[in-house]
Amino acid sequence: MSAAYVVSDCWTMTRRELAHWARQPVQVLVGLVFPVMMLLMFGYLVGGGRSVDGDYVDFLVPGMLTLTMVFGLEGTMTAVTQDLNKGVIDRFRAMPMTDGAVLVGRAAADMLQSAVGLLVMVGVGYAIGWRADGGPGNALGALGLLLLLRFAMLWIGIFLALVAGRAELVQAVQILVWPIGFLSNAFASPDSMPGWLGTFVEWNPMSATATAVRDLFGNPGGEPGHVWAAVVWPLVLLAVFFPLAVRKFGRLGK
């Protein structure tokens, strides 16, 4: 199997996902609008009452960006589950293509969608008064950390979909992802929570990313020197779930 085939197979599978977008622009749009809606709801309806130092919008936007990356897990899981339950996966598996090109296509498309989603959120955040004053280099670093978290979520999503293989479990995860997303510092500082809950929240990998991102954007709630945690946590998750997902895909039908 030459390297050229590997690249071409992965590109073909990525193109497939992009062709799906072109076919279903409304679905893509809804995927982009949902986090924006959440941001606006929390910013204007729920917010204000939260006790944080500084402007709540400046605190909220990095948290929402982080939450959007975590919620991306659902989208990945849904897409993989749908694919697995369709006959086309059999044709892919009975072809002499690169092992795992199906997953690479999924990963590339999801990362691209998340990157676009981040830019949209940043734009909307800017429109409602959010400002990053950590400098452009740090801002890029923050976006990088967010996408790294998304990448870890992606492989968790693929793995869960491969293990469950059923739409019912996707629903269960769609529900469970909410408390996990909210048991973080995305919306509120752990200082405002009861002791044990605050500890849990601080240990949530998502909180590590949110804290580091706030720091890099120069927003309230950020703590200097936490970037390492926002790098290590997703890498640990990747180290566990990437091989599990690839192995599980390779063992379909055994």
Binding site: M1, A19, D90, A94, P96, G253
Partner: protein, 340 residues
């Protein structure tokens, strides 16, 4: 004995799901350039066999080679040489026909330009050239099947698997698929076809393997299989269903060879001497005062061959095709008749 000329070679393949043996030592040899029918009831192991041959499923034991390569250790070599038409359309339903074929062509490493021209060729050949960008999910059943078949033929495969290719199609769609299969065989492709329809196997296949409970219970041409069951059968429709069993005991053949269809009040049994059996049957029924609505002599249909062979394998390992049946055997046969 296996030779290098075999497109498919399976020896003692076993596949177990939990407690159940999906394949219980299946043997199969298909010569190159022939159409081989795999015939059996639902759950006999036909689809399991095809999925193992197409590298989608791993067998637990046994030797399985396709186009000269081992499906376990040389899966990629096998995949280069096969086409698969499964029971459900293996297509990307969101994309159009040409998009599908071009994608599969690229994944077969035809290269971008060749993938495009090949897609157009196939669309033309299967009468789908004017489908444009319409997504496959809006296709009719017959169109979908043709596109699926086209996708299986991207690389002119050495071996083509057709898993119940006409299930769910109307007679016209069925005819279209049969036509395509016949034209393929002209091109030298080896075809393994699974079906529940005896007519289909009879129409298309050079040889037929009858599969039941995960093993091949009979193997041969349609004519050979018919010959195995005996030449003729006598059919008796008894007016009073309550006396069906009594009548079955009176026929001039061993009781075990009489199959009973209670719903149709029909007895059926193989006979050696046509006229003697007919006369004797009329005589014994009249003597017992049992009214017959109809008594007839018939050549066996492939359906009967099939039921006979699959029912025989229900007995304790009686896979030699002889009818070592007892009462429960008849029950099993009736169940199958209902299922068929």
């Amino acid at each position: 004995m296996a030779t290098t000329g075999d497109a498919i070679l399976v020896e003692g393949a076993r596949k177990r799901y939990g407690e159940k043996d999906a394949l219980a030592g299946l043997d199969l040899t298909v010569r190159r350039g022939t159409v081989h029918g795999l015939l059996g009831p639902n759950g006999a192991g036909k689809t399991t066999t095809v999925r193992i041959l197409a590298t989608l499923l791993r067998h637990d034991e046994g030797l399985v080679r396709v186009a000269g390569h081992d499906v376990r250790t040389e899966a990629r070599e096998v995949r280069r040489r096969i086409g698969l038409l499964g029971q459900h359309a293996a297509l990307d339903e969101e994309l159009g026909g040409r998009q599908n074929l071009e994608m599969f062509g690229r994944l077969h490493h035809l290269g971008a330009r060749r993938a495009g021209t090949r897609a157009d060729e196939l669309l033309e050949r299967f009468g789908l050239a004017d489908t444009g960008r319409k997504p496959v999910k809006q296709y009719s059943g017959g169109m979908r099947r043709r596109l699926d078949l086209a996708a299986s033929l991207i690389t002119e495969p050495e071996v083509l698997f057709l898993d119940e290719p006409t299930t769910g199609l109307d007679p016209r769609g069925r005819g279209e698929v049969w036509e395509s299969v016949r034209s393929l065989v002209g091109g030298g492709t080896t075809v393994l076809l699974t079906t529940q329809y005896l007519e289909e196997a009879d129409q298309l296949a050079d040889r037929i393997s009858v599969v039941d409970q995960g093993r091949v219970v009979a193997d041969g041409t349609a004519d050979e299989l018919k010959a195995r069951v005996g030449v003729d059968r006598i059919h008796v429709v008894v007016r009073d269903g309550a006396r069906l069993d009594e009548a079955a005991g009176l026929l001039p053949v061993p009781r075990a060879e009489v199959s009973v269809d209670a719903d149709r009040r029909l007895l059926s049994a193989p006979v050696a001497d046509r006229m003697a059996s007919l006369t004797e049957t009329v005589r014994v029924l009249a003597a017992a005062g049992i009214d017959a609505e109809d008594i007839a002599l018939r050549r066996p249909t492939l359906d009967e061959v099939f039921l006979h062979l699959t029912a025989a394998s229900d007995g304790a390992g009686a896979s030699d095709g002889s009818d070592g049946s007892d009462g429960s055997d008849t029950d099993a046969r009736q169940e199958r008749e209902v299922a068929a």
